[in-house]
């Protein structure tokens, strides 16, 4: 899978701290890392002084919502790719809950081809598990896998594959082509659609419909058993409770092929924020308790939770400016994810930058089946690189975004650690904090935002 990106000349990154393990220069030539070492001499190369910066393999997001096709007023594949670049990402997995749903080979190819035209990041489609996300019949999983897009990751995200027989069949079927089912774990009866607040003292006090932890944990428990039965691969989306972390820890100890993801917001924001009834904090699954946040941080730090997935979910103002129960679920995430992980896990010494590389690049690429991302910073590897200033403080401004939406829960908050430069196959997509103009993606529908 390669995207034609505008060719730039060779780049020499000097003095970068590779994964926080030691300083070296990186020479990038023809889209690959040509040389790694000290004092590299390359007179023809443009020099990027990375003194004081940490170099990571380009970040990979397994969980992104771009709104194209269908809601181009809130995000397009091109704008989402720019937001990705701004956040240090070189590849994102686009969830299928668009209009139409990505549930056939032609839909998957449409997203894939559209992604090829977005120069700021590689965009790959996630296929739906069931037709139209309706949870009743399997989507054409095999044809999507055999399409140009080569889909390997399938999810009904936003909806749970609740029918246990259908979930079993999906897990079984994708073993034929090494696919993975990414489950949105939410029992639709224990936590129906209206559920919007962690069930507990806060839901009671605020009078908001409760979303109990057991609605997530019971599905994860069941799916772990189905994974054991089928010998298949399960990926658990946006794990939000301490109990879920424990279930996944045990599944891994049992040797099952179960991976899990946590969102940046679930690593730091808590249910008490709902006291404002501000719909910026409405997300599914909901913000949980400080105990859950602690368990999620511990789980990410010890590898129980494999990856950080942003669940970047753009929404228009008019979808959010409602009372809390009616407003849309979801938060932006691509541009702030690295800073959140830096602030809450790296700064306190719970994760190293090498751990971050695992959780935000290497493992996500492996789960999604991307061979050209999440690679070591070594000669011959694709020149996908993210440079991070680990001490820079940023105050998040929802207006300063590449996204077409503004539903930014971190607005006004100060975070430590910022992406400075993103390089995709040797081409800078973000340089010194500015998204590089790579020309408009051709054939993009321009809908007024």
């Amino acid at each position: 899978m390669s995207t034609p990106t505008p060719s730039t000349g060779p780049i020499l990154i000097t003095g970068a701290d590779l994964l926080g393990r030691g300083r070296a220069d990186l020479l990038l030539r023809d889209g690959v890392i040509a040389e790694v070492g000290e004092g590299i001499d390359a007179p023809d190369a443009r020099v990027l002084d990375a003194t004081g910066l940490v170099a990571l393999p380009g970040l990979v997001d397994v969980h992104t919502h771009l709104r194209e096709p269908g809601r181009e007023d809130t995000e397009t594949i091109a704008s989402g790719a720019r937001a990705a670049a701004a956040g240090g990402y070189t590849a994102v997995m686009a969830m299928p809950n668009t209009t139409p749903v990505t549930d056939s080979a032609s839909d998957a190819d449409w997203v894939y081809l559209k992604g090829l035209q977005a120069p700021h990041a590689d965009v790959f489609p996630v296929g739906a598990v069931t037709k139209d996300l309706a949870g009743t019949e399997l989507a054409e999983l095999g044809l999507m896998a055999r399409s140009r897009a080569g889909v390997r990751m399938f999810s009904d995200d936003g909806h749970c594959v609740h029918d246990p027989v259908l979930m079993r069949r999906a897990l079984e079927y994708v073993t034929a082509f090494g696919g993975v089912i990414a489950q949105h774990a939410q029992d639709p009866q224990l936590a129906p659609r209206a559920s919007c607040c962690d069930e507990g003292p806060w839901s009671g006090r605020l009078g908001l419909p409760g979303w109990p932890a057991v609605a997530e944990e019971s599905i994860i428990g069941r799916d772990i058993m189905l994974t054991k039965l089928t010998g298949s691969r399960l990926h658990v989306c946006h794990v939000s409770t301490a109990g879920s972390v424990e279930l996944i820890r045990r599944a891994k100890a049992d040797g099952l092929d179960v991976t899990a993801e946590v969102t940046p917001h679930h690593l730091a924001l808590t249910v008490d924020l709902l006291e404002s009834y501000d719909s910026a904090y409405k997300v599914n699954p909901p913000l949980r308790t400080p105990d859950d946040v602690e368990a999620l941080r511990a789980g990410l730090a010890d590898g129980t939770i494999d990856v950080v997935g942003t669940d970047h979910a753009p929404h228009g103002l008019h979808d959010k400016q409602h009372d809390f129960t009616v407003a849309a679920f979801g938060m932006l995430g691509l541009e702030t994810a690295l800073s959140v992980v830096s602030t809450y896990l790296v700064q306190p010494g719970r994760m190293t930058w090498a751990d971050v590389a695992q959780a935000m690049s290497v493992r996500p690429a492996a789960i999604a089946g991307l061979t050209g991302h999440g690679r070591p910073l070594a000669p011959g590897e694709p020149a996908n690189i993210t440079l991070v200033d680990p001490t820079r403080e940023i105050t998040v401004d929802r207006e300063a975004t590449q996204s077409r939406s503004r539903n930014q829960p971190w607005h006004g908050r100060t975070l430590t650690g910022a992406v400075v430069t993103t390089i995709l196959r040797g081409t800078p997509t973000l340089l010194d904090g500015r998204v590089v103009d790579l020309g408009a993606a051709p054939d993009t529908i321009e809908v007024p935002a």
Partner: protein, 312 residues
């Protein structure tokens, strides 16, 4: 005392609650006069925004405002349960742009009055929001009980019924605890409010499913409405099953201490949570509560809208 708004009982202290009840006492004397009107809110325009049906609360607020000489307007409409159609925000901004002084809001969504206040910058009195709060109901309950029982310090109030879906219980619990009363919540586990022991202001509350054990020890029994539709959600198996455990039956009425009063915010399901004999008994506070409603709402509107700074 000036209140910038009344979104909930949560956040009010004992002194503020007592002042509101004392003002309500004065307002009740006004209602005994031949001329029942005070000029306190002359020239102020208060809009009753009722996005959910509630004839009695709406009438009570309307009468209270008129008795304080406020100009009132009424808005009725269904609160949208989807994001389609005009949003609550647009509705509120539209009415605010007419140059009104503030709102009384009833809405099916918890938090709607608070958001309306944030959006318009105008004072809001919450007339009941979703499963959140119903502060004037709690104040009128306390007012009616205080009249019959005197100071509520150390008095024992049991609240019985569907505490899970009730906005009244949240306001009442905090109000009664603030006034020094002991509160016991009585319901089957399916109808208990979530995490109630950890609510602010709820410290020391007792929670039980045993109504019969509580009955002989109460000064006031507050029966909350139990909607028959809850059966389909599995909250209880049948009316008979519910009544057997938690209904205020004739037999249970007899086991109350002589001085104990029975309250119900209405509308009642006679024969379900409360037997007709209990509703109509001399110890029943039910009509006192309705009368108290007007006085209490006059007091609330007075403290929110009268005097300097009511628009600041």
């Amino acid at each position: 005392m000036h209140l910038p708004h009344l979104i909930g009982i949560e956040g009010l202290d004992r002194e503020q609650i007592t002042t509101l009840l004392d003002t309500a006492e004065e307002m009740s004397h006004v209602q005994e006069r031949e001329l029942k009107k005070l000029p306190a809110l002359r020239g102020r325009t208060i809009v009753n925004m009722f996005f959910e049906d509630s004839t009695r609360t709406k009438m009570s607020f309307d009468l209270a405002a008129k008795r304080l000489s406020a100009d009132t307007m009424a808005f009725s409409g269904k609160g949208s349960s989807t994001s389609k159609g005009e949003s609550l925000r647009d509705t509120m901004l539209t009415v605010a742009a007419m140059g009104v002084d503030g709102f009384v809001i009833r809405h099916s969504a918890s938090g709607a009055p608070k958001l309306a206040m944030d959006w318009t910058g105008l004072p809001v009195v919450n007339a009941g929001d979703g499963m959140h709060e119903h502060p004037t109901q709690a104040l009128l309950d306390a007012f009616a009980m205080r009249r019959r029982l005197g100071n509520l310090e150390g008095r024992h109030v049991a609240i019985v019924g569907d505490l899970f879906h009730s906005r009244v219980v949240r306001s009442n619990l905090i109000c009664l605890r603030e006034l020094g009363a002991d509160v016991t919540l009585v319901a089957p586990a399916t109808l208990l409010p979530t995490g109630v022991r950890d609510w602010p202001g709820a410290a020391g509350v007792t929670v039980t499913d045993d109504l019969d054990a509580v009955l002989p020890h109460v000064d006031a029994l507050m029966m909350l409405r139990v909607q028959r539709e809850r059966m389909s959600g599995g909250f209880f198996p049948s009316e008979a099953d519910y009544v057997a455990g938690w209904g205020l039956t004739r037999e249970r009425l007899r086991r109350l201490p002589d001085h104990a009063v029975v309250a119900h915010p209405g509308p009642m399901n006679r024969g379900l949570e409360i037997a007709p004999e209990a509703a109509d008994a001399a110890r029943s506070l039910i009509l006192d509560q309705v009368a108290a409603g007007v006085s209490v709402r006059m007091a609330v509107l007075f403290h929110v809208f009268a005097g300097e700074g009511s628009r600041s």
